[in-house]
Symmetry: C2
Subunit: 331 residues, 2 copies
């Protein structure tokens, strides 16, 4: 029998291909991988079950690592479908399961059914997929830990004129340090990095490394939000312009400060939480719900790319000016 | 109404997504773009028509450039579907049509439905999409014209350790110079570059530029053939090993030479044609029918990538040895 490894595409249950759908229908057991990918719509598992008329098993990291044997055992006697949001092989995450299947005795045939992923959706920015360098992932910084090895990779791309896709961090099924130390298995609310935080970290890393290849006013970016969904939102501009979209207006800032001052009983932690919530709300207002990704535009920008990407800039943006003066894209 | 720009995916009519299929069914006119993409199965248009229960209009380059107005006119009053093999926006080829639609008065809403493309299918090589640099296209060389600016781009990728996807040239609806000079509109048989010619050109360009970053015995490659189809074939090895797979054995070479010698009446042109046909036949025997693409492996090869990619090497291949000794991939 066959182990199908099936990409679900970008946004919802209808992004599966006809071929993938047939494979699911021919499968006795259906696993939904749920640790590298985000499920874009609420109740995604139930929506899949309704579409397929079959039950779907959630496969968390523990499941896939610990129960690979049982997944493969099933595949020895009937078809098994392993569903992955996006394309199933954009990262090497699932190669272990596939290699194990092929090395079983007797070998279990594996069939990969590809689909669109964020690495395909970058085309919607107007930039050609050909002109992208390596992709980077930007992890959440904490007070104590601010890894930034990804900056060097962005620099490598920019130095040869290439665009960079920067993926934002996702924290799902994370435990708090406190719960972990007490042995309580409880997951925190999922967190998704939004465009403003992503850009802040990029700009801050560039400043602390004195990286001359990246500057908020002279580097162009394209925010790609909820790609492939009905709420898809694409915004282009200088990195600073994108940041400013989620900054409070002077009036807002004043009102918020007044609110904080009036609330004399609030602790520092409460104030901090409130500020973070406001920032998140503004970010979502500007860019929509997660997932957010950012394209950092390279110097080899072609006029056809520029024209399309510029159509996503807000009025008053310096996109075209920077493209012309800094990027040398003049035609 | 809506202009749907829909990716058809990698291989056949069942690679469209459920969402794309619904969009096609809601459309009054359906165009199939047929100048940047190859149709992997014979009678593809008819197969689409049967699946859709609707007729499909072939859109050659002339159609899309000259008849953009009429395509868009249709979209003003009813849905129009514009189908593209692979993902519709991997290149900037169709951004002009999309921009025109959005700039029409009143604007025509455009909905992009993404799908897998060869840039997604690279994951099947076992290499992570994250670690790829820019993509290059390798054009057919002729006696007179051997462009090789793509070599520098491969070098840029290799110098920072990144993998390169090299796409092979496709010549469809080409006219001969003779027909063109006589004003005869007649197309030549489509030509697709196969792995041996692709690698030969890469190696030859590297040699003539004395490029030390690429060497047939010390650079690893992964041939990706007919990705996503039932005849998908993936082969890894050193570039030289991949070349050798399509070289004649000494016995074959001898027999072929004898055959040519015996045929005293053959002209030089006939002999050349015969040799080219034999080479093509051997290439297809080793790698299957087109389309072929090649991944050139970069030094930042990760052990997980290596293990998966090595599973596609023939027995006796030096893949692991080169990965260890040249690439420094030791774990």
């Amino acid at each position: 029998m066959v182990l199908f490894v099936i990409g679900l595409g970008l946004a919802d249950e209808h992004d599966i291909t006809l071929k993938g759908f047939e494979a699911v229908k021919s499968s006795e057991r259906i696993y939904l991988e749920s640790y590298t990918s985000i499920l874009m719509v609420p109740g995604f598992k139930e929506r899949l079950e309704e579409l397929y008329g079959k039950s779907v098993i959630m496969a968390h990291r523990e499941t896939v690592e610990l129960e690979a044997e049982s997944i493969l055992e099933g595949a020895a006697t009937s078809n098994v479908a392993f569903l992955v949001v996006g394309d199933p092989l954009s990262a090497t995450t699932h190669t272990d399961l596939i290699l194990r299947a092929r090395q079983s005795s007797p070998p279990i045939p594996v069939k990969i059914i590809h689909n669109a992923s964020i690495m395909t959706a970058i085309g919607s920015s107007g930039l050609a997929g050909y002109n992208f360098g390596q992709t980077v992932s930007i992890p959440f910084w904490t007070e104590e830990w601010k890894p930034d090895s990804w900056l060097e990779r962005i620099g490598e791309n920019l130095n040869i004129g290439l665009h960079t896709l920067a993926l934002s961090d996702i924290k799902v099924r994370e435990q708090s340090a406190e719960d972990m130390s007490r042995g309580i298995l409880r997951y925190q609310r999922p967190r998704y990095m939004l465009i403003p935080q992503l850009i802040s970290q990029v700009v801050s890393a560039a400043q602390s490394h004195k990286a001359d290849y990246l500057h908020p006013e002279r580097t162009l970016g394209i925010a790609l939000c909820r790609m492939g969904s009905e709420e898809e939102r694409i915004v282009s501009g200088t990195l600073q312009e994108l940041l400013d979209m989620a900054n409070p207006t002077p009036e807002q800032a004043q009102a918020e400060e007044a609110e904080d001052d009036a609330d004399e009983l609030a602790s520092e932690a409460q104030l901090e939480k409130r500020r973070a919530d406001r920032a998140e709300e503004r970010a979502k207002k500007a860019f929509g719900e997660p997932l957010h990704s950012l394209v950092i535009v390279g110097k080899r920008l072609h006029p056809l790319e520029r024209d399309y990407a510029a159509s996503y800039a807000s009025s008053g943006s310096k996109f075209l000016e920077v493209a012309r003066e800094v990027y040398g894209c003049k035609e």
